[in-house]
């Protein structure tokens, strides 16, 4: 019915088709497309099954592999590592073999005669085979060497050094180009204390691998034991540079370094001691028969000695210090020496030493105490010498004097000053200069006053940074309270400057009663003299915890 109406409306079929076009065509297309997708999806599930089957067969066929071309740009040696890699010649032949039976174009080009020639050519074949054999043999040897190494490692774990060395030696015999074998054997030699062999092995390892840290470390240890300390230090330093986080290396490096430093100091000391000794021998009367020294060379004993005190003072040029007494060595034969026990000597600040020698009244008989910084035979020889050595080595914290009451020449020590500086020291730039000057002035109030006057109070924080201590603070305060007040000088700047010094708060906690009374004096003074406003003063008082 509907078609008939349409026919009535549209006269030609062509017209009908045109009118239907947009809707019907679209419908058809959608239907087609849906059909396509449906087909595809159903096909997909079939395909999935097929792929699973294929996958399992592919896995089974995995073993059948034809050879691959060599690694690009690699040297022959690198290829050796991969035994699967065939040489280029073999490859070209296998490539030809791969022509499939249905590849007619390739077969047309195939030159049978040439192929025959190639097969017949025995030299080519032989060469390739000998190459192959060589590769295989080398690989076998290498494997064997590695096996031996593993065995060796097992022995090392059990600490069977001899067996391990044997294994490593075998490994080296099989394959001599591996640094690890040498290095491991070196460890065994080290443990066996055969340091010379250890060093040689490490050297071989290092020629194969220059940056092998373990080898460097072990050689360092071996050389240390061989007392080639400088070389040891060099090795350990290189190892340390390569592996700065390795604590074992760091530890050994430090210990060797300390040893080297120690030896350097010792040699200096020995030289010094020997020099002194030869001098001392001249003036000493040695009971050589009673107290022979096996360490000293014999000829020294033969030197005819008379007690000549002046010669020693002539030969050693001690700096002459005014108001000081030069103490000469006194020689007493051992049997006449004091038998009293050793007495501790009070150590005193240089400022208080002044001119007193009374602090050294304590008598020590120092026959048995040997000073470690000195060489042994020097101390044994005579104790008088020791006092000089001590002074020489700047270690007068505990001063041992001889049987006689004697003080060493004092000019060397900064603490021991017998006279005040003649003029006020310059303005200090840092705390070291200040403290040096302050100590030099030896609490001479007048000098201190002059010195402080030169310094701008506001500079205190800069000078002291954080090295102002309670003692100095209270000394400064007392100088301010006495001298400045007496001279009617302004003190406010100093007081304020001191509060700016770092850690001042902490220092105020330790101010003594006398300091506090000094402060009161100072506050009163500054209020009267400088007309300081009360709020500033209050602030200051707070700062000083008053």
């Amino acid at each position: 019915m509907s078609i008939r109406t349409e026919k009535r409306l549209f006269n030609t079929p062509n017209q009908i088709f045109k009118a239907m076009n947009p809707s019907i065509e679209l419908q058809k297309q959608i239907k087609d497309n849906a059909e396509d997708v449906r087909k595809f999806v159903s096909d997909l599930s079939n395909w999935e099954e097929e792929m699973k089957r294929k996958e399992s067969t592919a896995r089974a066929a995995a073993s059948k592999e034809s050879s691959l071309p060599p690694v690009r740009n690699s040297s022959v040696k690198q290829d050796l590592n991969n035994s699967k890699t065939a040489n280029p010649l073999g490859d070209s032949r296998s490539a030809k073999k791969r022509i499939s039976s249905n590849d007619y174009a390739a077969w047309e080009k195939f030159d049978v005669e040439k192929a025959c020639e190639e097969i017949d050519d025995p030299s080519l074949k032989k060469k390739s085979e000998s190459d192959k054999d060589k590769i295989i043999r080398e690989n076998q040897l290498r494997d064997e060497a590695n096996e031996e190494k593993e065995k060796g490692n097992q022995f090392v774990k059990k600490e069977k050094w001899d067996n391990a060395i044997e294994c490593y030696s075998k490994a080296i015999k099989c394959f001599s180009q591996d640094a690890i074998f040498y290095c491991n054997r070196a460890l065994c030699y080290l443990k066996k204390k055969d340091y010379r062999a250890a060093e040689t092995d490490c050297t071989s390892a290092l020629t194969l691998d220059g940056s092998y840290v373990k080898a460097l470390h072990r050689r360092g240890l071996a050389r240390k034991e061989l007392s080639q300390l400088d070389e040891a230090l060099e090795d350990l330093k290189r190892a340390f540079d390569l592996e700065p986080n390795n604590t074992a290396i760091a530890r050994d490096f430090n210990s060797v370094k300390m040893k080297v430093d120690q030896i350097r100091i010792n040699t200096i000391l020995i030289q010094e001691a020997q020099r002194l000794e030869t001098e001392a021998e001249v003036m000493m009367d040695i009971g050589s028969d009673k107290n022979p020294d096996p360490i000293l060379p014999a000829k020294k004993h033969r030197i005819p000695t008379t007690t000549k005190k002046d010669t020693s003072s002539n030969s050693i040029t001690w700096p002459t210090v005014e108001n000081s007494v030069v103490i000469e060595p006194v020689i007493i034969p051992p049997h006449k020496r004091s038998k009293k026990p050793l007495v501790r000597v009070q150590v005193q600040e240089s400022a208080n030493i002044g001119a007193t020698t009374s602090s050294f009244e304590a008598v020590t008989s120092a026959t048995d105490t040997s000073n470690k910084t000195n060489s042994q035979h020097a101390t044994k020889k005579n104790l008088e010498l020791k006092t000089k050595c001590e002074v020489k080595s700047d270690a007068p914290s505990v001063i041992q004097s001889g049987a006689s009451s004697s003080t060493p020449p004092t000019s060397k020590s900064p603490y021991v000053t017998s006279s005040l500086p003649k003029e006020v020291p310059p303005i200090p730039k840092n705390s070291v200069q200040f403290l040096g000057a302050w100590r030099q002035m030896n609490l001479n109030k007048e000098m201190c006053f002059q010195y402080l006057k030169k310094i701008n109070g506001q500079d205190f924080p800069k000078i002291f940074q954080d090295s102002l201590d309670g003692n100095i603070l209270s000394q400064i305060l007392s100088v301010l309270a006495t001298e400045f007040v007496a001279a009617n000088e302004p003190v406010l700047a100093y007081l304020q400057g001191l509060t700016q010094v770092r850690r001042f708060r902490t220092l105020t906690l330790f101010l003594s009663q006398s300091d506090k009374s000094n402060m009161e004096v100072l506050f009163k003074h500054t209020q009267n003299l400088e007309k300081t406003p009360t709020d500033v003063l209050e602030n200051l008082k707070k700062e000083y915890e008053l």
């Binding site: 065509e25 297309q29 497309n33 396509d36 997708v37 595809f40 999806v41 997909l44 599930s45 395909w47 999935e48 792929m51 699973k52 294929k54 996958e55 592919a58 896995r59 066929a61 995995a62 592999e65 034809s66 691959l68 071309p69 060599p70 690694v71 690009r72 740009n73 690699s74 690198q78 991969n82 890699t85 490859d91 490539a95």
Partner: protein
């Protein structure tokens, strides 16, 4: 009427950013890889079975994966080569996913792109993997040689290092011949001949090169497709290399004088960056491009009547033209990865930055 359709068959959202996807050869499985929110890497292996997806394996790494390929591995082992944000190249064996079968620090910076050839799956010759990185270098690796690339292409000392965005193998029709093409962020395309170890051709196409692909890796170089920023798709006919410039002009946008040596065709599509291009494994004249707007375009290259003509006594290549078969917008975010199934014509998987991957069906491809 007979236009192919692009249909999203299965869609799956994941909780990480997807960067690449690859079909596992000879299986109904594919891998997707990307970056977890904590910028660690993840690779998942899915199998399609009965219209659904089955997660088979998943493994993670400390750095995000940027790209991957199965090219260059044997069919029996099917190792996945990946490049990550840290510049490391890994080969993964899905039978033993605990640790990579091969691992090396390939580049100083992120590996942007990777391609593989050889082994026994595609092409002849040695298995090789090429990586391109932000550090400006392109390196060729052989999985049999550890830690050391077999070839390195990088700018000389002092030259500015360009970010390498695209690499592709080609011309691997026998065991010696092989070509690597690399595209850079400044529009440079360089073609290296690995046999002679020389730069064979270079050009600049003005926009950063996002993707480069030869229509086939294992035939004599035939066509090269380059996609760029600002929505350009260029097709080069590589069969006939002219000794000097002097090509018939094929487009108005770029003159051949500037491009040199190869005839090419350029097309604007996607209205945004064209992120990638993948040739259909079953038909080398058909390829898909993925755009920054989340759209896919299916193209067909039509050869001219004669591919070469004589010009001043020298053979010159003639370019054909491109026809757009279909386009489809799948996502609002850029398409980051796309791969055709090598085993089933019309089956594909694609990833996009909306953290979703889709298994696609493209119908009627057999008609072309």
């Amino acid at each position: 009427m007979d236009k192919p359709q692009i249909i999203s068959h299965i869609e799956k959202s994941v909780n990480y950013s997807l960067f690449d996807c690859r079909w596992m050869p000879c299986s109904a499985k594919f891998v997707v890889m990307g970056s977890l929110p904590n910028s660690s890497g993840v690779i998942q292996l899915y199998e399609i079975s009965g219209g659904d997806l089955k997660l088979i394996k998943e493994f993670k790494s400390d750095k995000a994966f940027k790209c991957g390929t199965f090219g260059g591995s044997k069919l029996s082992s099917r190792l996945l080569a990946t490049g990550d944000f840290d510049g490391r190249l890994h080969l993964w064996d899905f039978e033993k996913p605990d640790s990579p079968a091969y691992s090396c620090k390939a580049h100083k910076e992120i590996i942007n792109c990777i391609d593989g050839v050889g082994g026994l799956s595609t092409g002849c010759g040695a298995p090789e993997i090429v990586t391109g990185s932000r550090d400006g270098s392109v390196k060729v690796w052989d999985p049999r040689q550890k830690d050391k690339p077999v070839a390195v292409m990088e700018p000389e000392e002092g030259e500015t290092k360009r970010d390498c965005w695209a690499v592709g193998f080609g011309n691997s029709y026998n065991s010696e011949e092989r070509i690597v093409c690399a595209g850079y962020d400044n529009g440079d395309i360089k073609m290296f001949d690995l046999k002679t170890m020389s730069l064979r051709w270079e050009t600049n196409i003005k926009n950063g090169v996002c993707c480069l692909e030869f229509d086939r890796r294992d035939i004599k170089i035939n066509k090269l497709v380059a996609t760029t920023l600002e929505s350009k798709v260029l097709v080069f006919d590589m069969r006939t290399q002219h000794s000097k410039d002097g090509f018939p002009h094929l487009t108005e946008k770029l003159s051949n004088h500037e491009l040199g040596f190869f005839p090419f065709w350029t097309f604007q599509a996607h209205k945004s960056t064209v992120w990638l291009c993948r040739h259909l494994p079953q038909n080398r004249e058909i390829f898909m491009t993925g755009g920054g707007s989340g759209s896919l375009c299916l193209w067909k290259y039509n050869y001219p009547d004669k591919r070469t003509k004589m010009l001043d006594g020298e053979e010159v290549g003639v370019i054909g033209n491109l026809s757009l078969l279909q386009n489809s917008t799948l996502s609002t975010q850029p398409i980051s990865g796309f791969d055709w199934s090598p085993d089933k014509q019309g089956l594909a998987v694609c990833t996009s930055f909306d953290q979703t991957f889709r298994v696609l069906i493209v119908t009627k491809l057999n008609l072309f």
